[in-house]
Point group: C2
């Protein structure tokens, strides 16, 4: 056994344990009896403690030192890159600080949930201030003199800097805000109305999952409060939800999660349970979920097919033709909530959070001023005022659990999806005629071969640039959104 073999055995076993811990999360959200919660907390803590110890195991450092990587192939080099990064990261944060962050964020989530229910930001503010102080301390340990926010970003999107995001997001915001204002003044299309049997929604949603290439022999679809995808490799499960008056929520949540799940399912089998065996970053992950959901799933061609499926499933849905259905699917509505936002407004939600969390981390914004800053920015970008904190600054769980540097990956994923879509459309000139028949396979095959199969082999930006054959830029996304919504709204 060489040091590399020993290292990989250790890492593979750790990854298998991480899959088990992830599946406990799936179980909790889908099938766990509600009275099991206190015991489940103990079980999760025990798994986390095992995983934490294994990730900091001093053997890893010793093996890494012993390995002479000259002559290693690209796969072995990539494995070492991931292992080294994760070990260095874990080693840089003092154990006491890590434990304190774990304790405070675990309490903070409950305090946030109560404050949101009570619509009382002040009840959450002191806790948020403590989380921010601890995360800044962690950021300093990680950054070692460099930019704190860049160090945080590296947890979710290694290789991307805040300066790059500033440039892209700075170009996105004014164009999107202006387009959004024009659309708001234009005539809105008909919306979908009526009620839709929830069992029939689940039946159609399972069919949609298969339509987008989700492999049911290595996955399953269940209902949960929040849609999510869970697991890597041979066991990747998704959840969705149903709402009697909003079947689009069910269908597009499913397609979104299938994008995440297909990425995990389509990684080269040889990478199973290694650092290359899961999606390489949050941004690349989101590029897959968003291109499935939007550029494919909300396209005129695909919605034309879906219109027929909905009539088959529900009878008359009160919409006259495919064009009206396409407009209803893509209708731009006033709304406060990021997770319910349409394609046009979604990135404005994310950019707002990015700028605010950058300011918080840079000590340029105090928690006491956060609610006002949120509300001012929201009104400026969306054209109407936040009515209550649960529709504003308290709507997302992220900050309470210490996720800083995570929000921008949502919009970065959309930027990536824009780049991929532009190239894919050129490579597949007949894609729309397949989509109009409910055949997504040209698109999903193209994404599998060009993006998904590589798993963690390339760095995030590299995988997008290899697949799209161009430098990452916000321009394709902007052109796509501008064309789509100008056309739909005649603006």
């Amino acid at each position: 056994m060489t040091a590399y073999d020993n290292l990989m055995d250790h890492v593979r076993e750790t990854e298998a344990l991480a899959q088990v811990a992830g599946r406990l999360g799936w179980d909790q959200e889908t099938v766990m009896p509600r009275g099991a919660a206190p015991q489940r907390a103990e079980e999760m803590a025990a798994m986390e403690s095992v995983l934490h110890a294994r990730r900091l195991d001093p053997h890893i450092g010793a093996w890494l030192e012993q390995i002479d990587a000259s002559g290693f192939d690209a796969v072995a080099q990539a494995n070492l890159r991931h292992i080294r990064r994760s070990f260095d990261r874990a080693s840089k944060v003092p154990a006491q600080l890590a434990a304190r962050i774990a304790r405070v964020t675990s309490q903070a989530q409950g305090i946030w949930a109560e404050a949101r229910a009570a619509d009382d930001f002040k009840a959450f503010a002191p806790t948020l201030a403590e989380v921010i102080m601890l995360k800044r301390e962690e950021g300093q340990a990680l950054a070692a003199g460099e930019d704190i926010y860049d160090a945080m970003l590296a947890d979710y999107e290694p290789g991307t800097t805040a300066a790059q995001l500033d440039a892209m997001f700075g170009a996105l915001r004014p164009v999107l805000a202006e387009l959004r204002a024009k659309v708001r003044d234009a005539q809105a299309p008909q919306r979908l109305e009526g009620t839709f049997d929830e069992a029939a929604q689940m039946k159609l949603t399972r069919q949609l999952a298969k339509t987008f290439g989700y492999d049911m022999t290595r996955g399953r679809v269940d209902k949960a409060v929040h849609p999510f995808s869970s697991g890597s490799g041979l066991d990747v499960r998704i959840t969705t939800r149903t709402n009697r008056v909003d079947p689009f929520n069910c269908f597009y949540s499913t397609i979104h999660e299938v994008g995440h799940a297909a990425y995990e399912q389509n990684i080269d089998d040889a990478y199973l349970l290694t650092p290359l065996g899961s999606g390489v970053s949050m941004g690349v992950h989101e590029s897959q979920s968003r291109i499935y959901e939007n550029q494919i799933g909300r396209s005129r061609a695909f919605t034309g097919w879906l219109y027929g499926q909905m009539k088959d499933a529900f009878g008359d849905i009160g919409i006259a033709d495919e064009d009206a259905f396409f407009a209803a699917v893509n209708r731009v509505n006033d709304g406060f909530i990021r997770t319910e936002a349409d394609e046009l407004q979604y990135n404005l939600h994310v950019l707002l959070r990015y700028d605010l969390e950058r300011a918080l981390m840079g000590n340029d914004l105090q928690v006491s001023d956060l609610e006002a800053a949120w509300n001012d920015r929201f009104e400026a970008d969306f054209g109407f005022a936040v009515d209550k904190p649960s529709n504003g600054v308290l709507q997302d769980v992220h900050w309470s659990v210490g996720l800083f540097g995570y929000f921008p990956t949502y919009s970065l994923g959309n930027v990536y999806a824009g780049c991929l879509n532009e190239t894919m459309r050129t490579a597949l000139p007949d894609l729309d005629s397949a989509l109009a028949q409910g055949d997504t396979s040209p698109a999903t095959n193209w994404l599998r071969e060009n993006v998904q199969t590589h798993g963690g082999l390339y760095e995030p930006r590299e995988v997008i640039e290899r697949a799209s054959g161009r430098k990452v830029s916000e321009k394709p996304l902007l052109s796509y959104l501008t064309a789509k919504f100008s056309d739909l709204y005649g603006v």
Copy 2:
């Protein structure tokens, strides 16, 4: 932190991890996508490796040495007894032997399954011989000069010796074989015939689970190929199965598993995730599942109520009245398979296995002679001949996975149930009128308070003797079975 505190923290975390591993097993049998199997094997192996290392952690030995237990209460003393026994047991078996047993039995299970499918004992014999050789070696390591079989028994029923079993089983066998022969010559009652909707079976089976006190807020009922109960504490799940022509299989499997699950659910909350927080032995566990299933569930009073439930669920079931239904539920049929056997014949199946495995372990029987020994004994006790190995020596998985000393706990559980039933009936003279109304709570409360709540506080035999107020003996079981079947068959 005292040494005892450190020890208990370690043990509690290990127990939480063991619950996670157990739930992976549940997942595999109920909801896992079939394509996930190869990855699941890696995940299970990783969990087993973590658990194995924790159970052999040298800190345990050091803490045990440091602890001065004088002045400890009964709970702490019982915790130490369990921990010491389990640590000593793990430490006695050489690591190489343990690894070899794990490897061989994992392969042997597949070889057994193939041999059973092909009805070819010779294809399994060499593997079984290897398993037996390794288990004898392990038994020698555990017995340290004492009886090997007693050492094996201690894994499942500490405190019970083969000499005690010989005495009890020796008294059971002739009486049961004679009664069985008489019943065989008598007029058999009507059997249940027809087909029964499987969704309606599941609905009634869930109602039966609640009727027997199963707490659905801390559990759930799913379908699986083999019925089982899984987990301890706040998350105890059961499975059942349906068969269109045999609804009794579904209902009595459920009641049996509810007996196991209620035992786990009803242990004192203070013992959660400690060595006292799960059922104390296989025999005591089986006493609960069998008394729920048989002495309560197959009683004249309870079947009278069940008769009405079945008519409500399925309409006319072709049985005229409660007495005929009681006779149909308890009908004694010729059959080869232990798991399908009625109350009267079940122990004859177990005693056969016990005598054969004792002889195998004592080197008094060779694997080459096992099939013939099985067939001779079967014909002697049951009155007809085994037709093929899958109905005989190849029917049970146990020996292939190295379970020797396990079979007798099934009959010991029945003996315990007999003792408990006799005392419970005296304590609850009006029990039958409650059961006739579908109210099992006087019985399940009595069992909870006298047996289940104690978890691992007392030794197995002690918990039965405290609850029943008498020495463990086969006599109550024999009287109960003789009275029931003599009466039913007029013999």
